[in-house]
């Protein structure tokens, strides 16, 4: 396929063509019951197909929460494979919310699982956790960057229990979250320069419920995945203020429960998604 576009650039084009909305697919037992679906692989697949039908062309991406598929073992993962395929067919990008994180050859194996075109689980981007150090993920970072796929590293989560670790102070004097953000920014800068891309491929997960201004977000020069909107309390306007000055099309805003609660009717899901997508398009860079 000749020159491979980078994930950051692909995402920006996709957001421009649709919206900053990422539709979270969180098929929890409670939600399956509310939809009248069985708590099993078939239920997962039905919910996934309905969401995809409702948000195709409206959302930039869907974000399956892998834990809810893993709950059903191999059969659940098989349902996830089908959902990923169907989402790609509908023109949606897919972010696997798996928060994987390990070192060396183990991390490379997660890269093969989620970012290699030959894998049935291959997605556009994967969420990862860097408690073992970003430097230990070198192989996956390179793999993603070259293949036009992305990683979203959890930097600042939307839940209060994460503050203690994320705000701890490293030897360099920065907080853990700030030092992760600047390490990602440095790598994105290298990618932009060396591969002639406009936006880097290494993203950050930054919760919309955080106080703005603590982190220099525009310095990332890469994409953000933003949980915390809707059921978790933040508004599209809050997101717009928090990410002011970031590059266009780099802020992907996730909403899960606030959309899925409108189901199982596909048209009701589509209406909920369209309304939120419109608000986000007006508010977010």
């Amino acid at each position: 396929m000749g020159e491979q576009a980078g994930f950051g650039d692909r995402l920006a084009a996709q957001v421009a063509a649709t919206s900053p909305l990422c539709a979270g697919l969180d098929p929890s037992p409670a939600l399956l019951e509310r939809w009248g679906l069985p708590d099993g692989p078939h239920g997962l697949e039905v919910m996934g197909r309905a969401l995809i039908e409702a948000v195709g062309g409206v959302a930039a991406a869907i974000k399956p929460q892998v834990a809810f598929f893993e709950r059903h073992g191999a059969a659940g993962i098989a349902a996830l494979e089908l959902v990923i395929e169907e989402a790609h067919r509908a023109g949606l990008m897919v972010v696997a919310d798996a928060k994987r994180g390990d070192i060396d050859s183990t991390m490379a194996a997660y890269g093969s699982a989620w970012l290699d075109a030959s894998s049935p689980l291959c997605v556009d981007a994967l969420t990862v956790v860097a408690y073992l150090g970003l430097g230990a993920m070198e192989a996956v970072v390179e793999q993603a960057t070259l293949a036009g796929r992305g990683l979203f590293v959890v930097v600042a989560s939307s839940n209060p229990e994460g503050r203690s670790i994320q705000e701890a102070v490293t030897a360099g004097g920065d907080s853990v979250e700030a030092s992760l953000l600047s390490e990602l920014a440095r790598r994105n800068g290298d990618e932009i320069e060396q591969l002639g891309r406009s936006v880097g491929s290494l993203g950050a997960v930054v919760g919309a419920t955080r106080q703005a201004g603590r982190l220099d977000l525009p310095s990332l020069n890469g994409p953000f995945l933003v949980p915390g909107v809707g059921a978790q309390g933040a508004t599209p306007r809050d997101v717009g203020e928090l990410f002011e000055g970031c590059m266009p099309g780099t802020v992907l805003v996730n909403a899960s429960r606030s959309i899925l609660a409108a189901g199982p009717s596909v048209s009701a899901l589509a209406t909920a998604a369209s309304e939120l997508a419109g608000e986000l398009t007006r508010s977010v860079p």
Copy 2:
């Protein structure tokens, strides 16, 4: 089943009956090739069965590295289900090295996947990462504790890239790793008191390659999972020194490559495992 024994107590009994050895099952592409096995679900299963046959009665547990199964999508996870079943049949405990970590209902879904008796992936203990805060895992901690299963929280990893985050200083003045350890110790203390157990169920992953003495390890009153022995450079004697003063049967020492490199011959694997198990029994509390 009446009173359920806790994971810490079950592990201590198992170590006393076998050894402190945990045989890591890391079916990497390189190792499959070396064994003359295909890089696919069948190869994973064959390697798993050989290891189980070799270490049953000798090791306390096996530790499948989930990433190497996830590489093959649903079919790889199906192979892992078979390996788990076979290991239990051979009297081995199983620690799933998945390093999962999330919050609230998502974390509870990982708990259902790995620690619920009705799941095909149910194991004795799961490794988890707490970048989003240990407090956000409350539901899984409780689930594991009551069900006689365990969690191993990554506290101090064996790789150098993890130092920056793990040694960062929290608002309370402790390092991230020390504060995680004391939070685990507090919960283990509660479990021991309230449920009348001798050892708690909340474990810590502490790399054997770390300098001893930085953390107050005996204070955990729970199990340790210790990578870093063998191919990664630490010796059984190093482990013995590092964990001096810890409760008997609480130190589970993982070796992966140094055993698996002896395969595919089951008797050669058994010899390698027995030698290491003997050394560990002499050196480790």
